[in-house]
Symmetry: C2
Subunit: 197 residues, 2 copies
């Protein structure tokens, strides 16, 4: 009998992505065992996030301030806008530290199956930003899935009158990959988009 408080915590932890009841139980046990070094610091870190983190009203990023530190930075090139599906993708781009423009988080991609229509995504605010902020290049960094590609096509049609150049991330063989582990679609695409050396 694990006690009501513990059972309740296990249920909440099991709702987190990629966790089930079994791993939730292990995590909760570990938390109780390491009260001072794990449980209390976790409560502290969670509370700080709950208290301080806001959604940026301009780009949709999560930060302690809104507009976020990227949107309000004078060091970022404001004519370059990278459109991503989710904040996770924004973080992934930032880890590369190569892109020096600003971002726009769509909040998803169009999907007939999941019933995601253009009005469910932050597309109107994207169109508005391009006009208002004088953006000259929009980089579509959407997933290389069917839904991601459909969304890219839709965005191209919506933005074609904006005057901004619309580009997308290159597709091909990922770094370090063995050819015989690649799917045929990727190989075909890489062959078709081959570059002169």
């Amino acid at each position: 009998m694990a006690g009501q408080d513990i059972e309740k915590l296990i249920k909440v932890v099991a709702k987190l992505p990629s966790l089930g009841t079994r791993s939730a139980r292990r995590i909760v046990l570990q938390l109780i065992k390491k009260r001072e070094t794990l449980l209390l610091p976790l409560i502290d870190a969670l509370s700080q996030v709950a208290e301080n983190i806001k959604t940026c009203e301009i780009c949709g990023n999560y930060d302690t301030s809104s507009p976020c530190s990227i949107c309000s930075s004078a060091l970022r090139e404001s004519h370059l806008l990278c459109v991503v599906q989710d904040v996770a993708d924004l973080w992934a781009m930032e880890r590369v530290s190569l892109f020096k423009g600003k971002y726009h988080v769509l909040g998803g991609v169009l999907s007939a199956l999941d019933g995601v229509a253009p009005e469910d995504l932050n597309i109107d605010s994207l169109v508005e930003r391009i006009h208002k902020e004088g953006i000259t290049e929009v980089i579509l960094a959407l997933p290389a899935t069917v839904d991601g590609q459909i969304t890219s096509h839709y965005l191209v049609s919506r933005l074609k009158d904006s005057g901004a150049k619309i580009t997308t991330l290159a597709q091909g063989i990922p770094m370090g990959a063995e050819l015989d582990y690649m799917d045929e679609g990727t190989l075909q695409l890489a062959l078709n988009s081959r570059k002169l050396l």
Copy 2:
């Protein structure tokens, strides 16, 4: 740039068992997205556990009271004691709802490799309980690993003068298992311990 508070939370979450930085990031994003339905309930459940959960002074279980609800229950047979490695194993036994005795959590198993000696485990308190509580049967429910078996042997030698009957969980083919997926050790053991029908 994920913000200091978020980075800190990701680091703490990544320390939890079976999680790495990547899954921690996904979890933290999900928590921020579902502030009301996930983040705040999680903080609440964690705080309650941090506030209320104690280690039972008798058996080592975690509960809101010490002695725990099992140790202080009048409905459990107090002459029957099940020795487990960890609170996780106690919970596993309780999920079966078959065992109606009490428990003793060793806090680990003997291990030459990890440097776990008898004095690192709750063995003295076990010996004391058997005498004091008039226990007639000790069920050793330790893992079926080399270290677990060595610990069982050690406990048998320590408890042989206690007057209590010492038993251990049956070993063999687990329920629902296909024979050709079983390791040779288990098959050998199951064959040697075969039962007359």
